[in-house]
Symmetry: C2
C-alpha cells in the first residue's frame, strides 16, 4: 500500500475515531496493552531478527541496545498504554466559553487534529507510545519508524490494530508506513489535506529536512543545546549539584545540559571544583581561555563546541562578564529548548526568565526536569522547540486542535 | 534595505519589545493613534498618488474603493489602535501552573513569538491594524503590503514608527518591506530563524503559495467556502433569514455563505420561498437538478460551483437525503471555515457539531458571526483555517507562544 493510500484510509478512520467516546478509547487502550503482553513472544521473535541484522551490519552496541526488546520492555510498553488510558480525554474539553451580548452562546472545544504522522528513529517502544497517545486524543496515526526496527514495528502494529479493532475502533486508525526508503518520508511531507500534522522525532538532520521540505504543518521537536548559567549570586553547592545532574544523569537525551556559563565573579571559586567534579564523572570539558586557566584537562572550545548538542559526556564552558552576556550567549547558540540559571538573586532570576527565549527556563533546578512525565502530563509525544502551536513537552492536549461552536435561535448579523 | 536586513533589525527590536510593559505598549499605541490623526494630510497625499495610479491602470472601482483613504477612514485606523490599547496584554498571562510533587513550581506563561511577518493585499488600513496588534502582543512586525498601496503604506508606517519611537519603543519593531516584486515575499518565506511566523492574508492563490513554499511556520487564513444546511427539522422562517443574511449581508468576506444544502423532506416547502428571496436579493443560484425543479432561474451547478468561494452574489445549492449526506458534502467541498445548521432537533444539532470539521460550527445562527469582533476578541489579525496553533478568529492571545518557567531550590533529578 502506498503512503497516500494509507493516508486516505487513516483519514477515513479518523472520522469515526474523532467521535469515539472516552470509554471506547480507553477500552481499546487496555485491550492493546493486554495484547502486547499476551503476544510478547511474537514481538520478541520479530525483534530478534532486527537485532541480528543490526549486529551483522556492525551497528554500535548502544544503538543495538536501543533497538532490543525483552519481556520487561514489552511490559513497559503495555504499562504506558494503561497509563494513557488513565489520563483525562482532551477531546471535548471547553477551552473557553461565554454568552455574547446578543445572546449567542460561544464555546471553544478541543477536537482531534484528524491524522497525525510520526517519523521516528530506532526505539520500537515509540511505536506503542505514539499509537496510544494518538488514539486517546482521537487521532489516526501514520507511524514511520526506522528501517532497522521494521520487523519489530510490524509485529507491534499488527497486534495493536487487531486489539483496537476487537473493541470496535477502526483498525486503520493505527498504520505503519513503509520504512525501506526515504520515499515514504517524502510522501508524508507532501500529503497536505490528508495528514494534518507531522511530528519528526530523532536526530537534528531528520528534523531539519522535514521542517524545510514539508508542505504538511510540522511540529519541530527535540534538539537541545541546553545551558546552565551560574550567576554571581549563585549558591555554589547548588550550582555544582545542578550542573552535574544536568550533564551526567542521562547525557544522551535532549534536556541534558551541553554548556556551562559561569559569571566571572565566581569563576575562580566555582570552576576548579566544578571542573574536577565533571572530570571525575567522566565529562570532557571544552572551554574558553578563562575556563582553561582553572584546569589543565579542559580542551579549547571552538564555535562548533558552543553550538553542539553533544548528547555525550562532553560539555562546553565559558566565563561571562554578566548575566546579560550569558543571555546573549544563549541567544546566539541555544536551540530554544531548556535553559537554567542558578542564583539566590530574585532580580537575576526575573531577568533571566524574562529575557531568555526558550521552551523552558529553570531557576535553581536541573534542565533534566523538562519532560512530560516530570511536568505531570502523564505521557509525552515529544518536546517542541518551535513557537507555533506547542512549545516544550507535549502531552495529550497538544495533540488536539479546537473548534468554535456558536449556538443561537435564529441569530442574523446586522 | 533587504528583507533579511529588515528581519535582523526586527529580531533585535523584538528583544526589547518582548519585555516592554503594558503601560509602555499602550502609551505607544495611543501616540500612534494621535499621530495618524494629526498627520492625516500626509497620509491622504500619499494615498492620492496610489489611487491615481490605480485608476490610470484601469483598476476596478471596487478595488479602488478598498485602496482609497479619507479623513474618516484614517480616524477609523486611529480608533482601532486605541481599541487595541484598551485590550488586556496577553504577554505574561499564566496559561497553567501548579506545584509538582517534588516542590518544583511550574508555570506556563504567554510570551511573544518575536517577529511576525504579515503579507496582505490592497487595503492600507490593515497596515495600522496589524502593526497595533503585533506591538500589543510584544511582536516586531514585518509588513508586506500590496504594491498598489505602497505610498500609503510608507506614509502610515513612517508615522507609526516615529510615534512608537517617541514613547521609547524601538522603531524597528514596525517595518514595511519592499512590495515592488514577489522577491520580498520569497525572502520572507526563507527567513527561518529570523521570522517566527508568517500570516498571509488575501486571495486563495497567495495563501496557497505561501503555505507550500515557506520554510517559516505559516498560519493559513481566510478561504471560506461556507455552507448553510437546512435540516429536516428546521424552523423554515429562521432558515430563510439565516440563509439570506449569510449570503447577502456582506458577500465579499470569507464568512459569507457560498452554498446552501437542503434536506429533501423540506425541499418542496423551503426551496421555492428561498430561491425567490435569494433572486430578489440579487443572488444567482447554481443548483443541482432537485433544486432546479423549484425555480426556472437556477443555473446548473458544476463541481467547480460546489468548490467555489464566490465572494459575490452567487450561491451553489443542493438537495441532500440526510444530515449525514450534508456533512459528507461539507467534508468534500468545505474549506474548514464556518459551517451552519438550521434545526430544531437537539440530536441533529449535536451530530452536526460533532461531525463537521471546521474552525466554527453554528447552530441556528448566520455564518457571518464568525469574526473576532463579534466573538468579543476586540480585534482580529485574521481567521485561521488551519488546525495547528490557532483555528478560527485570531485575537491577541493567538499572536503569542508560551514558555514554561520552572522554579526550585536546587532540585536535581533522580
Amino acid at each position: 500500500m502506498t503512503v497516500m493510500d494509507s493516508a486516505r484510509r487513516a483519514r477515513e478512520a479518523s472520522v469515526a475515531l474523532a467521535v469515539a467516546t472516552r470509554t471506547a478509547k480507553d477500552a481499546a487502550l487496555v485491550a492493546m496493552a493486554e495484547a502486547l503482553v499476551s503476544r510478547t513472544s511474537e514481538i520478541l521473535t520479530a525483534n530478534d531478527v532486527d537485532v541480528a541484522a543490526a549486529q551483522a551490519a556492525g551497528t554500535s552496541a548502544a544503538l543495538v541496545d536501543r533497538l532490543a526488546l525483552n519481556t520487561q520492555r514489552v511490559a513497559g510498553m503495555a504499562d504506558g498504554l494503561r497509563q494513557v488510558a488513565a489520563l483525562p480525554d482532551p477531546v471535548g474539553e471547553v477551552v473557553r466559553g461565554n454568552t455574547l451580548p446578543n445572546g449567542l452562546e460561544l464555546r471553544q472545544i478541543r477536537v482531534p487534529f484528524g491524522v497525525v504522522g510520526i517519523i521516528y528513529e530506532s526505539r520500537p517502544n515509540v511505536t506503542a507510545d505514539a499509537a496510544g497517545l494518538c488514539l486517546k486524543s482521537g487521532n489516526a496515526v501514520l507511524l514511520r519508524g526506522s528501517s532497522s526496527a521494521a520487523r519489530s514495528n510490524e509485529a507491534i502494529v499488527a497486534i495493536l490494530r487487531q486489539a483496537a479493532a476487537g473493541t470496535g475502533l477502526p483498525e486503520d486508525a493505527i498504520q505503519l508506513v513503509d520504512s525501506s526508503s526515504r520515499d515514504s518520508v517524502k510522501e508524508l511531507m507532501r500529503a497536505r489535506g490528508l495528514v494534518d500534522v507531522l511530528i519528526p522525532r530523532g536526530g537534528a538532520s531528520l528534523i531539519k529536512s522535514v521542517v524545510e521540505e514539508s508542505t504538511v504543518p510540522v511540529i519541530e521537536t527535540g534538539v537541545g543545546n541546553c545551558h546552565v548559567y551560574v550567576d554571581a549570586d549563585a549558591d555554589l553547592d547548588q550550582a555544582l549539584s545542578i550542573v552535574l545532574n544536568a550533564k551526567v544523569q542521562r547525557p544522551s537525551v535532549c534536556n541534558a545540559a551541553e554548556s556551562l556559563l559561569v559569571h566571572e565573579s565566581v569563576a575562580a571559586e566555582f570552576l576548579p571544583r566544578a571542573l574536577a567534579a565533571l572530570t571525575e564523572a567522566g565529562v570532557t570539558v571544552h572551554g574558553d581561555d578563562a575556563v582553561r586557566e582553572h584546569a589543565a584537562q579542559v580542551l579549547p572550545a571552538t564555535e562548533e563546541d558552543y553550538a553542539a548538542e553533544y548528547l555525550s559526556l562532553d560539555m562546553s564552558a565559558a566565563v561571562v562578564p554578566s548575566l546579560q552576556a550569558a543571555v546573549a550567549h544563549i541567544r546566539r547558540y541555544g536551540t530554544g529548548h531548556s535553559e537554567a540559571i542558578v542564583t539566590r538573586s530574585q532580580a537575576a532570576a526575573r531577568e533571566f526568565v524574562s529575557t531568555v527565549d526558550a521552551a523552558a527556563v529553570l531557576v535553581n533546578a536541573s534542565t533534566r526536569f523538562v519532560d512530560g512525565g516530570e511536568f505531570g502530563f502523564g505521557a509525552e509525544i515529544g518536546i517542541s522547540t518551535q513557537k507555533l502551536h506547542a512549545r516544550g513537552p507535549m502531552g495529550l492536549p497538544e495533540l488536539t486542535s479546537t473548534k468554535y461552536v456558536v449556538t443561537g435561535d435564529g441569530h442574523i448579523r446586522n
